[in-house]
Symmetry: D2
Subunit: 375 residues, 4 copies
């Protein structure tokens, strides 16, 4: 289940192609559209989000909501393209309109201009934009349909925004409630403080980052590899998560706290009950030796604050080389809930790919049979 | 510069093949052997390390210390193989000797046994062992020869062990001193406290993890991609680092602290001095939009405590299903310094690969010319 | 320049995404559409081709006909989708309409049904159809824009149809005339005999295959590899050509005639004139040791006869298991001219990819500079 | 089952690493060594072959002749390295000894020198040499062990040498006899004429190429893909075969004769007998729509004559730029039997890789179970 992604932020739309999807998988289009909506929502988002409500337009690989076994291509149209056609058209457009030259710190603008030998940062930001992540959410939704067919579940929540942390521990079943909050936060008290913080930041033209936690339940043991370094489950997940715009770190289980915990308290002892191996702790976050060990996979990822500030960051105009205030393209205070959905999506894609590699198979009937036969 | 790795811990030796190395690169064999030695050393290591002093035996791809342009194969012999031949020989060996069935928590043992349908965890641990990282250190040394030819430098140090942190800030030039300490720590005071802690843990049969910091200096801007999610610099680095045995997290620049810092204080503003763009801070750790921005790359990675404890963790015997104490294969208290060298090595490999992809080229003369021509 | 392809024959359309295209490449949309038209034309084609005139609809990666450096997504719409929507819609369609169960010999039908666990061969043939090659022609056109920027030219012609051969030798410059013939044949006499043959076959409800020759001019020496077996130029070209529907063989230079020619007459001796190495023959077809040697690349490929015959082949109904005559989906006698354009296109894509790997670079200005600097 | 290959012709040895080999596969070392011997033998070979008798030295991934599931590294030592150490040593060698500057037509010499910026063609030919194929034969042997476990058989024979053809048709079972001939030819009459021809060529200082045929029996239907162009069985096989030194063409089933056969006689009609689909012809060579169809896979490949002629080809001295006679490194008249074994080996590797991708699985018990469950 390999995703190829294309599309500019204000172009005709975003395109994704997913290869290696088995046949006879039922695609839950409503769930995918709901996830696309969740990616656009969240307390602290600006106004652009409200105009465009994304939805998936499947072009190939699916017939009557069931996969054929061929590559799934889909499009997420940019609903305001008609306003941008004269600026962005592949065929004929006016490149002197809406140029961006006051390169924005924290973005790809400056580096991209040099690398691709452009003079208008629009040519960079249109693709580097977080809008691209809509493709990953749609594709992650298709991966989720696959995982759910095997009773593998992926859920997540927002754990911290701008220094305000939800320190509660949650059962996996509770995580499903996170989407009831418009910050995807499970702790109502923490949520309230976060919202106050967001309001304050908004007034100051400032922005916030945060931390999300994602868990995978139902993945049997043995996914990944202890034999080849480039097939380790944690390596694959880390690559996927750090490929998300604005992600700056990832950890599994105890993560950076492993550095503060001695071996005696760090590792998950093994027991045997009811004819099955078990563990009473899960500090490893479900991954030992580069493989799933049958416990829940537990991942945390951090998002940096949105780098476009209404209060303006100092920068340089790329053409005049004069000091100035950075251009602004949008006005969100925070997008941590969106980040949560995106990270959840890339985790789904990564796990689906690894599951498919181990199971092989071309159609869902065969794959489910093999899944059941796995120890 | 793609590394393929093979070899068991007590087999004949470890083998690596590096592909895509340009011709006419001078290989500094002494530096590589020094790094192999550093991987074996460090305060808190047990005795096995002292027996075997690793060295690289280049088999192909190099003639008179200069690369040919062909794949470089090398071997790191296991010096005590003669003691293990009757147990491990590919040709003929006795599989009933030295079996491991008291599966060790924190290791690949239990999961591996099920996945590969073995009954002796030796068949798992021999490959899953951290000994495999010697291949990465040797290959990383070759990558370092390449990077140094372009004046790209990679250095690192140990920042934290078992909760004791060196909070100082260091210039890049200072990092080279870290190897003078047998904990690779720059702060003598912190080092002393760490050693005391290690001694205490040793007495208790306990172990420690820690945090290392790696920096890359001299990498020009534009390496990685803002256009394709799977070519981002941070994604590639994260994958490499999480492929190291015992790594449980990675962060870039401010990393998880981005969650506590509002946008105003999080981003690196852009200036223009002496005909060049510059920044006065480097919170981004040198990566914006999935690309190097010309500042130092700053990476932190965390290692979990060694999961083999002399005091013994509770586990199950895989055959009898009886509760027992885990088998022990070695007796280190901590291997964080080794982890530092390994992470440094995989960073070298990853950066070298990305540099080569952007520069193309088949021989060093051509590559150096293109490097100089890069903006 | 990696192409990902998607789309069913009677779905909404075909989709392609090309990654790794440098920025600032001018896209010649008219040339691409002309190639799409050529793929649909040719003496001996049936009627369906006449209804739909394919054209490329670029969705991303291009602004005002110049590449951005981001992935290029494009769509080739199926103009008669409105007739098929109730049968093929991803969202809601009636799977009992237009089913295909009389599986066609020479097609993917029977094998695909078993592999993907379908009961209607439409679910197979919609993707396995040669219509998919339109994506390759469009992508090949983009690759051709790139190659032409470096003065690399790719041309081809039809050499044989159903046993009638054009045995003339042609200069590269002459090849451009092949598209003036509606069989892409350069020899008017041979063309006439071929057309008579096609007419006869049509009357008999029979079909024909043929041989095409493709040449690449202007590729400098050293593309490919003599150091790694999986990077050889001929290996990559063979993989590309055998990935074309109905291709059953490929050869380079003398090809299978090498078996009849002794070494003295087989190899291209080397001379030195005007400060340059030269050869007076090109039996090797421009490839020695897995690399281009600077001479024209010469490739021949064979296409099998179209397996759908109006006269009907014997087969089995997949459901009833009764003997019957195969279903027919189209009525062409031969598609060798289309095959010529398709093979030309995949050769363009392959050469462009190999050129980009060796040159590296992100924008056309940089790439052209490096190309000129190559020896 | 991915092979990475390294090693120079007169270096310490050749190294291969095979990844993705399942655990618990029995390795038949004697069979592998026999194949290595067959690669070195054959009527028409020179004397060097007699000195060195290759054998596989497995270094990792195997214990007591059974795979562990880890990468298999192996070495084929160059038995005369001690004669070459002062010339070829990676550590310290004299690069002025045994230089090659009279670049040999038909080899990588000239192109390689320019590409890798060397002045001694030894630096090219040591790796470009056909000796590298020993690695593929050894790896192919391991792949064959795997295929045989699933009752998939791969056999082949020499069909033509220097224009003398064996036109007989053979049952699959007969092919096993080919290795009784020292030309791997099944037809004793043809063999005799070929040997006379070889003797004549030897007297004239000339060389010969030829055609080999390889077949795969027992591969079930559905391997490869009709959905993704880069996963087609014929594409993968063509890439593997054209990666063999001196290969210049490949065809499947009727191959280039498809161009001379009309559709009525070209395609394999489908029948149903004894509750199974069947075909009475196999013109397709077992591949339709990019997938195996259950019939024997039939492949032909052509080898060019050995380009090193004792009678000498005209060339240029790379340093002096003077006309001269090409350097000679060996003195074979033909190596078509070796080519047969090599092509057989790369076919084994390719089929094993494709089988593993479809079956998934980590250990042989699991894989065999899934194989049996396949329709």
């Amino acid at each position: 289940m390999k995703l190829t992604s294309a599309g500019e932020s204000h172009g005709k739309g975003l395109i994704g192609i997913i290869e290696n999807v088995p046949s006879n998988l039922i695609i839950d289009i409503e769930m995918i559209n709901k996830n696309l909506f969740l990616r656009q929502s969240g307390y602290g988002r600006g106004d652009r989000q409200k105009i465009e409500k994304d939805s998936i337009n499947i072009i190939s690989g699916v017939r009557n909501r069931k996969t054929l076994g061929s590559p799934i291509a889909f499009m997420i149209e940019n609903k305001d393209y008609f306003n941008w056609e004269n600026i962005m058209s592949p065929q004929k457009s006016d490149e002197t309109l809406n140029t961006v030259t006051k390169v924005r710190p924290g973005h790809a603008d400056l580096t991209g201009l040099i690398k691709y030998n452009h003079t208008d940062a629009r040519n960079i930001l249109e693709r580097a934009s977080a809008r691209e992540t809509a493709v990953r959410v749609a594709a992650g939704g298709i991966a989720k349909c696959f995982l759910n067919s095997l009773n593998i579940e992926v859920e997540g929540f927002v754990k911290e925004i701008c220094g305000i942390t939800d320190n509660n521990n949650y059962e996996f079943a509770e995580l499903k409630n996170s989407k009831k909050s418009d910050l995807f936060v499970l702790n109502a008290e923490a949520e309230k403080v976060m919202k106050d913080k967001i309001d304050t930041l908004k007034n100051e033209g400032d922005t916030a980052g945060g931390i999300v936690e994602i868990r995978v339940k139902g993945l049997k043991s043995g996914f990944g590899s202890c034999m080849q370094y480039d097939k380790k489950l944690d390596s694959k997940l880390a690559a996927a998560i750090l490929s998300v715009q604005a992600a700056k770190g990832v950890e599994f289980g105890l993560g950076f706290n492993y550095s503060k915990t001695s071996g005696k308290y760090a590792h998950d002892e093994i027991f045997y009950n009811n004819n099955a191996f078990s563990r009473s702790t899960n500090n490893a976050g479900g991954i030992e030796g580069g493989m799933s060990n049958g416990e829940d996979i537990i991942i945390k990822a951090v998002m940096k604050p949105i780098p476009t500030l209404m209060s303006g960051l100092k920068t340089i105009d790329y053409i005049s080389k004069k000091q100035c205030t950075a251009d602004t393209e949008r006005s969100d205070v925070t997008a941590v809930p969106a980040f949560e959905i995106i990270v959840e999506s890339v985790v789904c894609l990564t796990v689906a790919e690894i599951v498919l590699q181990r199971l092989g198979g071309d159609n869902m009937e065969e794959i489910i049979k093999r899944w059941i036969q796995l120890p």
